[in-house]
């Protein structure tokens, strides 16, 4: 008898805030400047210097908390988290510990545990100088990134597959982008994700031993990494072994997981309240300001799309979770060239996305109005859907007006007149085998006849009409 296992996943996401200055000093944030050109005595941890909290980082933290439906702490404080590493100039990171800015909350199906503020570490670049292993190798520290404001979002273990983790992260990213609090770019490190993963037999409610998968830097790698780790844990358990609590790194090139050597004292951070800072007491004015700045969020937008435009939940989410798709869709609907929002939604999420991939349709040559017109032509049967796709190809390549493209390419749908009857008669004459089979009751043989008509008419014929005419002419 085989047991099947269910993975349980919690995520820890670090988000670099897009403030102008660092968390605790007035250095500008860095975007690839010369190393150590965005530093000052404070972010270099020089003796006698003191941190001062960036007001906008608190505002952004509040926006995130409100967007996630968190409880905002009336009074939160910073702690020092002590450990030695060259990317940590003071020998401690200023972070929040037992009283974070935001507690609890929910985004989509996933409950939020907490949201807190802290400062980012500097960048440490390994530099093997001698070429010999374990000898004279060195690293170089660039403090430009050190002190960048970070928000850490921790979810409850509320995710049950790698695909769900990926989809939820997409929602989180869109939400954060919509809030305007971060660039949320995984490749550039402004959004970083760790995953805590355990497995348990289906039906169990207690959590198994978890492992931590560190710093995956793309959505694809997150999904693959989590899947690889789930498979590894299942294999271990099925072989009668146990899962050890450890931190792992996923190498996307080889698909392998490697255990990161645990530091001997990694879990004694000696947290204590930061005496150089005073408490953050969120005032009514601060809350009111955050509420006023809160835009419509993806989850709300999806709900609105579902209700207002009669979209399926799935399509509504596809549009709302990619802000640019949702914006494009709303612009297309607003142009009033087509009164069928569901059809527009389906063309945007289907045909348009198939052609543009992850690109922003707002940047493409297809204007929302053009798309709306195109869908209108198809809906009113002036254009078959097949011919519509050809028109869309042209619009993606060259832009322009769909009606004009339809005319110039001769793609307008044929009406059910003599021309179509003639084309059907030609097809019957050219395909005696198919006609014989059809007469024998083999219904699928009609496909060859319809295909013939479509080829000859460049797809301008309406499939249903062709079927009707074939049957009529054969007296079936």
């Amino acid at each position: 008898m085989t047991t099947s296992y269910e993975p349980v996943i919690g995520l820890e996401i670090h988000v670099q805030l897009s403030t102008k200055t660092k968390m605790f000093c007035a250095c500008e944030l860095s975007f690839g400047e010369q190393p150590n050109s965005r530093t000052c005595p404070v972010c270099l941890g020089m003796p006698g210097t003191l941190p001062v909290v960036n007001a906008r980082a608190i505002d952004f933290g509040l926006l995130i908390g409100l967007a996630l439906g968190s409880e905002i702490a009336p009074r939160s404080i910073f702690h020092r988290k002590n450990y030695f590493y060259p990317d940590l100039p003071k020998g401690y990171q200023i972070s929040q510990f037992d009283i974070p800015l935001c507690l609890g909350g929910r985004l989509g199906e996933v409950a939020i545990h907490r949201v807190h503020l802290e400062e980012d570490a500097a960048k440490l670049t390994h530099q093997g100088t001698s070429g010999r292993i374990n000898d004279a190798d060195s690293s170089v520290v660039d403090f430009n990134r050190g002190g960048t404001p970070l928000v850490e979002i921790v979810t409850e273990p509320d995710i049950y597959s790698a695909a769900q983790a990926r989809e939820w992260l997409t929602l989180l990213r869109t939400t954060l982008r919509q809030l305007g609090v971060s660039d949320v770019n995984m490749e550039e490190g402004s959004l970083r994700c760790d995953a805590n993963i355990s497995i348990r037999p289906v039906g169990e409610t207690t959590l198994g031993t978890k492992t931590e998968l560190k710093n995956m830097n793309s959505f694809r790698f997150i999904e693959r990494g989590i899947d690889a780790e789930i498979a590894r844990q299942v294999a271990l358990v099925e072989a009668g072994q146990t899962v050890a609590q450890e931190t792992l790194h996923f190498d996307p090139a080889s698909g392998t997981l490697t255990s990161l050597r645990s530091k001997e004292d990694s879990h004694d951070y000696r947290y204590f309240p930061e005496p150089d800072l005073v408490p953050i007491v969120v005032t009514q004015a601060m809350l009111a300001q955050a509420h006023a700045a809160l835009p419509e969020l993806p989850a709300q937008r999806a709900q609105r799309f579902e209700l207002d435009f009669a979209l399926t939940a799935e399509i509504a989410r596809m549009l709302a979770f990619r802000t640019e798709l949702g914006d494009y869709f709303e612009a297309a609907v607003g142009s009033r060239d087509c009164d069928d929002p569901a059809a527009i939604a389906s063309w945007v999420t289907g045909e348009l996305v198939a052609r543009l991939g992850d690109g922003d349709p707002g940047d493409s040559k297809v204007t929302p109005q053009a798309l709306s017109k195109l869908v209108g032509l198809v809906s009113t049967k002036q254009l078959t859907s097949g011919a519509g796709k050809s028109v869309l190809d042209r619009l993606v390549a060259d832009g322009g007006d769909p009606a004009a493209v339809m005319e110039s390419e001769g793609l307008a749908a044929m009406d059910s007149g003599d021309e179509l009857a003639e084309a059907v008669a030609d097809a019957i004459a050219a395909n005696p085998d198919a006609v014989a089979k059809l007469r024998d009751g083999k219904e699928q043989a009609i496909g060859a006849l319809i295909g013939h008509v479509m080829r000859e008419t460049k797809g301008r014929a309406d499939g249903g009409e062709v079927t009707r005419l074939v049957r009529e002419q054969l007296g079936l």
Binding site: L50, G91, F272
Partner: protein
């Protein structure tokens, strides 16, 4: 030249303003005195006297000595430690900037216990400082260099810092005035940190008037220090003549049956109380029930904060580095082991232990609760008393080396000063008399931001004590 030596800073400033004395002449006088210093009180002395500058600030060009731990732009700032060997900060402490702008140019930096950890100035990478009253004795610490320099007349006035008594105790040992302001009254930016929630800059001066003058230019909120406060009101030169209506509280817990309080110190203290009564004050015993536990709380809180504050000395961005065999951890350990002296290591160890997993609640957490009770005790006492008075230190200046072998005995010399530090309240030490030919300080502590009232009372008492410190001024220098 002896005339200049006899001028207080305020008097010297007045002479500069009236044109009797040139600001350059004054600067050069003290620069020379500092250079000729025999007490090891200085870690740096200006190489030259600046040309005659317009002295329009309220401090009138009277040059200032500052404790090594204040960062001074382009000038070595080591906090008495080898680990900051050669460190020239690209910035100055806010308070140093403020005083330079007010017309007190920096002319020297003074020796101190390493990272302000010590009560005798024997824990310095630059060697010990000697007491100008008796060079076989310590000047107290940690601001020992500042105290000795002012007492010996090789600085007109000086900045120090006080974490648990580091201004008041050396002021007492050297027979000068030392004032620790309310926590938050003076910016900490650019002060090399020992214990962030306790550290406070203050003044060491020849008399109470100088203390008021210098402090009046130091207080105020600094946007670079989140824990600094707007000073309520302003500080003016004191004019108090008597103590009528002043209620002095003598804490029973600190003065009754305390072991180690020297009879000579007790006698000077009792005399001082009688003098105060003769000037119109009432003297009564008061209660500070948790004060006997202050030292314990202090020796958990201060080392804990210090253990984190001193983590930045890692051989990466500034100061000393001692390489190992190429491994990062080894570089850290060798650098820190070579760079820190024994007392600093001891406190880092104590603080790290107090914060470590499993001990936080029993040690650090408890100490913070004791701190709450101590602050409450003071609040209650100040409902019935204007000031709390104690001897500043249980003893007079002790012999060099007398307590170095016994950390606990050394820590006990902060017995009277630590409670005020934990409560964050201001306190002054003024010389009240001699015991065995050595100065004894009287400590006067008041509620937060009561500096002006403390200065008035201290000024009145100073007049009555008529303490003569001129002997030390003539002994400290060639």
């Amino acid at each position: 030249m002896s005339e200049i030596l006899d001028l207080t800073a305020a008097a010297a400033g007045a002479a500069v303003r009236s044109g009797e004395l040139g600001a350059s002449e004054l600067f050069e006088f003290y620069r020379q005195r500092a250079q000729d210093d025999q007490l090891n009180a200085f870690t740096w002395v200006a190489e030259a006297t600046p040309g005659e500058a317009a002295i329009d600030g309220p401090l009138s060009g009277v040059p200032l000595a500052v404790k090594d731990l204040f960062c001074t732009k382009g000038i070595v700032s080591q906090s008495g430690s080898r680990i900051l060997e050669g460190f020239r900060p690209p910035y100055s402490a806010t308070v140093v900037e403020q005083l330079e702008n007010a017309g007190a140019p920096l002319f020297a930096k003074t020796n101190q216990d390493e990272f302000a950890m010590g009560s005798s100035n024997e824990n310095s990478a630059f060697g010990p400082v000697f007491n100008p009253w008796d060079v076989t004795r310590v000047p107290g610490g940690s601001s020992g260099g500042s105290a000795a320099a002012v007492a010996a007349g090789s600085a007109p006035w000086a900045l120090g810092t006080d974490t648990g008594g580091s201004i008041r105790q050396p002021a007492s040992f050297c027979g000068i005035v030392g004032l620790k302001p309310t926590y938050g009254a003076v910016s900490r930016y650019g002060m090399i940190a020992f214990a962030s929630s306790l550290d406070q800059a203050g003044v060491l001066t020849r008399d109470v008037t100088d203390a008021a003058l210098l402090l009046s230019e130091m207080v105020g909120r600094d946007p670079r220090d989140s824990t600094s406060l707007e000073y309520p009101g302003s500080l003016v030169l004191p004019t108090g003549r008597d103590l009528s209506g002043i209620r002095l509280g003598v804490p029973e817990e600190l003065t009754e049956g305390v072991e180690g309080i020297e009879p000579g110190v007790r006698a000077v203290f009792d005399d001082a109380l009688r003098t105060a009564e003769s000037m119109g004050a009432t003297v009564e015993t008061c209660r500070l029930p948790h004060a006997p536990h202050a030292l314990s709380a202090y020796y958990l809180i201060a080392p804990a904060e210090a253990s984190a504050n001193l983590s930045r000395y890692d051989g990466v961005r500034f100061g000393l580095r001692v390489e190992g065999d190429g491994d990062l951890k080894e570089m850290y350990e060798r650098t820190r082991s070579a760079g820190f002296g024994p007392e600093v290591k001891r406190r880092i160890m104590l603080g790290t232990y107090a914060l470590s997993s499993g001990y936080y609640d029993a040690y650090y957490g408890r100490a913070q609760r004791v701190r709450t009770k101590i602050a409450e005790d003071f609040n209650t006492a100040f409902e019935s008393f204007d000031f709390i008075v104690t001897p500043t230190s249980p003893s007079v200046a002790f012999k060099l080396g007398a307590r170095t072998a016994d950390p606990l005995a050394m820590y006990l010399s902060d017995y009277f000063t630590v409670p005020m530090s934990l409560a964050g309240i201001p306190a002054i030490s003024i010389p009240a008399g001699l015991s065995e030919g050595l100065p004894v300080g009287l400590q006067i502590a008041g509620p937060a931001f009561s500096e002006q009232r403390i200065l008035e009372a201290a000024y009145a008492l100073e007049g009555a004590f008529a303490f003569d410190a001129s002997g030390a001024r003539r002994s400290g220098s060639k």
